[in-house]
Amino acid sequence: MKKVTFIEAITQALDEEMARDERVFLLGEDIGLYGGVFKATKGLLDKYGAERVIDTPISEVYIAGGSVGAAMVGMRPVPEIQFADFITPSMDQIIQQMAKMRYRTGGQWTCPMTMRVCCGADVGGGLYHSQTNEQWFVSQPGLIVVMPATPYDAKGLLKSAIRGDDPVIYFEHKRLYRWIKEEIPEDDFTVPIGKAAIRKEGKDITVVSYGLMYHRSLEAVNALEKEGISAELIDMRTLLPWDRETILESVKKTSRVVLVSESSKTGGVMGEIGASIAEEVFDYLDAPVTRVCGIDVPAVPFAPPMEHFFLPNADKITRAVKKVLEY
C-alpha cells in the first residue's frame, strides 16, 4: 500500500494501461511536452513516444471524433478534454458519433474509448474553468458517465473504462487532484462501472452524492453523527447508468433522502434520481425528496464569495438533512 494523490492515481492508471495494452493511446491539448496543464500525463511522452501521447492542435471536435474513428478500427483512445468548460465543440461528435456508433450500426462498429474530462469548481477558475458539465451527458443513453471521488476509485474506474467495450466520459474533479490522498494497493485492481459505494452506513437518512460533493457530504454526515444523526452516505461513482439498486434500497431503508450535486439543480442527474425515487419507492418515503445543488445560473461566477455561494457545502447539506428529518 502506498499513499497517492488523486491525480497520481490517474497517471498510474494511464501508465499501467498503456504498458499493458499497446492499443491504448492518449491525445489532447498540452498533454505531451507539457505533461498536461495539471500534469496528469507527466512523463508519459518520454516513456511511450509521440505516436501514443499525441499533442493535438486546439481541436476539440477532432479530439472527440478522431478518437471515435480510432476506437472503431481497433484502438483504445483516451482523449483528454483539458477543461469541461471547453467540451462544447466536442458535443457534436460525442452525442452523434461516440454515443450512437454501436446503435446506429446495429452493433457492427463499437466505440471503446475513454474521454477524460477535467472539471469542477472551488479552485477560483471563474466562468470558463469551473463547470462540471456532467449533466449534459447523463441524458444521453449510449454513453457511460463516471465521476470518481477517491484515488482508489480514480484509478480503478479509469482502468475499467479503458478495458471496457463502451464509450466512457470520465470526469475528474480538479479540486481533488492534489487535495485527496489515499493508500491504494500497488497490485493491479479495477473498480466496476455501474456500482455505487455505500461509504457510511446509516439508518435515519440517505445522502447521495459524487465527485467533490461526496467530500462535502462526508463532512456534513460526520458533523451530523456527532449530533446523533445516522446518515447513510452513498458515492454514486457512475452517473450513467446509475446504480438504481443501491440507491433505491437505501432509500427504502431510511425513508428520507438528500441528493447533492455540484452542477445546477435543473436538468442534472439528481432530478432523474429524485423522479425515480418518487416513481418506484414512493410508499417508503417519510419526507419530500430534497436536492442540494449548484444554483440555477449559467456558470460558476468568479469572485470568491459568489463562487462559494454557488456551491453546495457541508453547512447547506447539514441544514437540508435536518429539514428533511424534521418534516
Partner: protein
C-alpha cells in the same frame, strides 16, 4: 474544367491509361449503381419503403471512381449519397436493399435511415446524418492506421456544402500535420440541399482549401469516371506510402432533389439539362464501345443481368421481416450494461 472529350475520344487503352478490365469494371459499377438508384426512386414512389430516399443519380462517378480497386480493410467514411461506393466496394445488393427497406436483416437491423449504408466486412461506416461527421471519424481511422503501422487508407466522401463546417477543417488540419492515409473526396454538385455553392464559400474550386492544410488539392471533372479513378489511384498510392492526404474536388451534379420529397425547384431547368448532357454513364461507355470491348448486345445483356440481381435482392428483402420492436433496446451498450425495460 478539364474536357472529358479528350479521354473519351481516344481509342486505345494505352492512351486512356487503364486496363480493359478496369475500364469495364468502372463502367459496370456505374451502371449497377445507376440502375439500383433509379429503382429505389421508383420503389419509394410506390410506397414500398418508409422515410425518404437520397438519389445520387448524376454523380455516380465520384464514388465509383475512387472506390474501385480498394481493399476490404480500407475504410469508406460516407455521407448519404454514396450508394456507388457501396456497390463498388462489393457490398452485396441484398445488404444494400435491406438497409433501404429497414428490414431485420439489414446490417443496422433497421435502426438507421435509408441510404445510411454501412457494412463492416467491407469497411463501410454506417453514417450519421450530420454532414462531414464521417470526415472527422474517418480521419480518426486513418490516425489509427498510422499508429498501427498498417497501410490501409480511408476514403472520406462529402459534399461541397459540408466543407463549411468547423469540424471538417479540424479533421483536415490534423490529417495534414500527421500526413494521415486518407483521401478526401469532395462531391461538388453545386447545391447543398437548396443553397448554391456560391453561398457555401467564396472560392470557385473547393480543392483550394487543401492549401491551408499543407497537402495537395485537385479539382477534376467528377463526371469523367476515368479521370476520377486515375486521380484517386495516385492519391491512394501516396496515402499508402505515408505521403499524406489529398483533397480531390469532383465537379458534378445531382439530377434530382436533395431527397425524393424535394422537387428541387430552387434551381434552373437549363442548368439541369446542361448537366444531363455530361451524364457520366454514356461517357464511360463510349471508349468501351469504340474499342469494341462493349457492344449494344453485350450492354443489353449486362443491363438484363443487373436488373435480375436487383429483382432478386428486392424479392428476398421484401419477404424478410422487420426486427421485432424490442430490438430498439439492443446495441446501446455492450452486454455488460443491458438497457432497463420499461413497462407501461
Amino acid at each position: 474544367m478539364p474536357a472529358n472529350s479528350k479521354t473519351a475520344g481516344k481509342t486505345t487503352l494505352a492512351e486512356i491509361g487503364l486496363s480493359e478490365q478496369t475500364l469495364l469494371g468502372l463502367y459496370t459499377n456505374l451502371l449497377k449503381t445507376r440502375l439500383l438508384d433509379e429503382r429505389f426512386r421508383k420503389l419509394f414512389r410506390q410506397g414500398r419503403f418508409a422515410g425518404t430516399y437520397f438519389s445520387a443519380v448524376g454523380q455516380e462517378a465520384t464514388t465509383v471512381g475512387p472506390t474501385y480497386g480498394l481493399r476490404d480493410e480500407d475504410i469508406i467514411a460516407p455521407s448519404h449519397r454514396e450508394i456507388g461506393a457501396n456497390v463498388t466496394k462489393g457490398v452485396p445488393l441484398e445488404v444494400i436493399v435491406a438497409q433501404v427497406f429497414a428490414r431485420g436483416n439489414s446490417p443496422d437491423k433497421g435502426k438507421s435511415h435509408p441510404c445510411h449504408y454501412g457494412w463492416r466486412p467491407k469497411g463501410v461506416i454506417t453514417p450519421a446524418s450530420t454532414v462531414a461527421g464521417q470526415t472527422i471519424v474517418g480521419t480518426g481511422c486513418a490516425m489509427a492506421f498510422r499508429i498501427q503501422k498498417k497501410d490501409n487508407v480511408v476514403l472520406a466522401f462529402f459534399g461541397e456544402g459540408s466543407t463549411a463546417r468547423g469540424g471538417w477543417h479540424e479533421a483536415l488540419n490534423y490529417a495534414g500535420i500527421y500526413k494521415l492515409p486518407i483521401i478526401y473526396i469532395c462531391q461538388n454538385n453545386l447545391w447543398a440541399e437548396s443553397v448554391p455553392s456560391t453561398l457555401a464559400a467564396s472560392i470557385t474550386n473547393f480543392s483550394d482549401r487543401a492549401k491551408a492544410y499543407g497537402f495537395p488539392g485537385i479539382t477534376i471533372d467528377g463526371n469523367d469516371v476515368v479521370a476520377v479513378h486515375k486521380t484517386s489511384v495516385e492519391a491512394i498510392a501516396r496515402a499508402r506510402s505515408g505521403e499524406g492526404p489529398t483533397l480531390i474536388e469532383c465537379k458534378t451534379y445531382r439530377w434530382y432533389g436533395h431527397s425524393e420529397i424535394d422537387p428541387a425547384d430552387y434551381r434552373a431547368q437549363a442548368e439541369l439539362e446542361s448537366w444531363k448532357k455530361k451524364d457520366p454513364l454514356p461517357r464511360a461507355e463510349k471508349p468501351l464501345m469504340d474499342l469494341g470491348i462493349l457492344t449494344l448486345e453485350k450492354r443489353e445483356a449486362l443491363v438484363e443481368q443487373i436488373n435480375q440481381e436487383i429483382d432478386a435482392a428486392i424479392d428476398a428483402v421484401e419477404k424478410a421481416p422487420y426486427s421485432p420492436p424490442e430490438e430498439a433496446y439492443n446495441d446501446v451498450y455492450s452486454e455488460q450494461f443491458p438497457v432497463r425495460r420499461e413497462e407501461y
